[in-house]
């Protein structure tokens, strides 16, 4: 019988564990642990897996948008007003010191050890401009937003954050955008379309994205998407579905939007590559008013309304590589 070495002049390499890096794509090898032949394909299919449950179920919560799957931060929310803060370590959530001002529909930015929470609704229908910084241990109040509002979104880091969209209540919808420099907020160019509760994302001020939202009371949801370049907003390709209350993670060139209302609850996830939106794998559980954090390939979907308040966390992973086992017929 012909052997591989006889044909190719060398033997198949033996590895005790599967490779995980993109430079291994195309390799064919023998896995000596599983005693199987395998090969490596590019990772093109992402999926959501379950993560640790929040200690406090809630919707309309804020998250440190630039947090990671192993260092997440959420705060505020409703299902009665919340000031609870929780940190995620990749496995479970742990309670931390509370926000000074309990509120729902709050926006967030930053990372677990340098988070930012701003705006929100501290009473039914009320608005606040209060901004708080989290240092990994406790919250301290900072200079207010210029425009008090709730249902806004945020992006960026603690010393360079962005606040956009929202409402002051009733039929009012805001296009107002503000930049935070670590000390104070400055109003900059508006969104082209005023809205509340869009899906929002942005690891930096300059790669933030605003998707969908609600433009007037009722199920008036849109698919309009805008990206911010540090100076102004530009309309780009619409999402595939009109939606409101979605979570988001990533950047304006590699981001995902997930969940929301269309107007029924949706589990759909859409990925943006800087040009167009593609439907990818669904959340396991459809919900709205959830928080998001992370990147376009490693993200968290946290809490929400199912329609009951949810403590669910799901972890999105788009692997660099996929390992395939060779089978014989």
């Amino acid at each position: 019988m012909a052997t591989f070495k006889g044909i190719k002049g060398f033997t198949v390499q033996t590895l005790s564990s599967d490779p995980t890096t993109v430079d291994s794509v195309g390799q064919f090898y023998f896995n000596s642990t599983s005693n199987t032949f395998k090969y490596v394909q590019p990772g093109t299919v992402g999926a959501w897996a379950s993560g640790g449950a929040l200690n406090t179920a809630r919707n309309s919560l804020g998250a440190a948008q630039a947090g990671t799957q192993t260092a997440g931060l959420v705060f505020g929310g409703e299902g009665s007003l919340k000031n609870e803060t929780e940190e995620y370590n990749g496995t479970s959530w742990s309670e931390q010191n509370n926000l000074n001002t309990a509120r729902a529909s709050i926006a967030g930015a930053g990372i677990q050890t340098a988070g930012l929470g701003f705006g929100g609704s501290p009473t039914s229908g009320g608005t606040t401009a209060v901004t708080e910084e989290y240092n990994g241990t406790s919250w301290s109040e900072q200079n207010d937003l210029n425009s008090a509002r709730y249902g806004l979104k945020g992006g960026g880091i603690q010393t360079a954050a962005l606040a956009f969209a929202g409402t002051t209540g009733g039929s009012n919808r805001l296009a107002v955008t503000e930049k935070y420099d670590g000390t104070s907020w400055t109003e900059v160019n508006d969104l082209n379309t005023a809205r509340v509760d869009p899906g929002g994302l942005g690891l930096l001020q300059t790669n933030s994205l605003c998707a969908g939202g609600n433009t007037s009371p009722g199920a008036n949801y849109i698919s309009n998407v805008e990206i911010f370049d540090g100076t102004s907003w530009t309309e780009v390709a619409n999402t595939n579905a009109n939606k409101h209350g979605a979570g988001g993670a990533g950047t304006s060139t590699d981001g995902i939007i997930f969940g929301g209302n269309i107007p029924s609850l949706t589990a759909a996830t859409e990925a943006y590559n800087g040009t167009s939106w593609t439907e990818v794998a669904d959340l396991a559980t459809a919900r709205t008013a959830l928080a998001g954090a992370g990147t376009g390939s490693l993200a968290l979907a946290i809490g929400g309304a199912q329609p009951a308040n949810s403590a669910l966390t799901e972890e999105w992973t788009l692997p660099d590589v996929v390992i395939k086992t060779v089978t014989t017929s």
Partner: protein, 94 residues
Amino acid sequence: MANKYCTANNWGKDFFTHEERNNFYLSGQPGNVWVVGDNTHGDAWIAKVSGVSKTQVEAQAIVDAEIATAQAAWDAESDEHKALHSRPTDITLP
């Protein structure tokens, strides 16, 4: 696509994994109801999570009760709340 139905409490991490999500259809619903693709991988997952099997009618009844509760709560909310949040809609299990 045929599905199975069960109830199971989501314990968090590794309740369902990325690999499992790629191997069978899985959809969480109100009332801890899970719709599970009818294949060997789905069966293995139901066993892993100690799922309590339900018929589609039984599962739908659980979901309907949860939605009815949520709709009643929404009806009692303020106009401000209603202006921002949609009334929970009925769910028909696949």
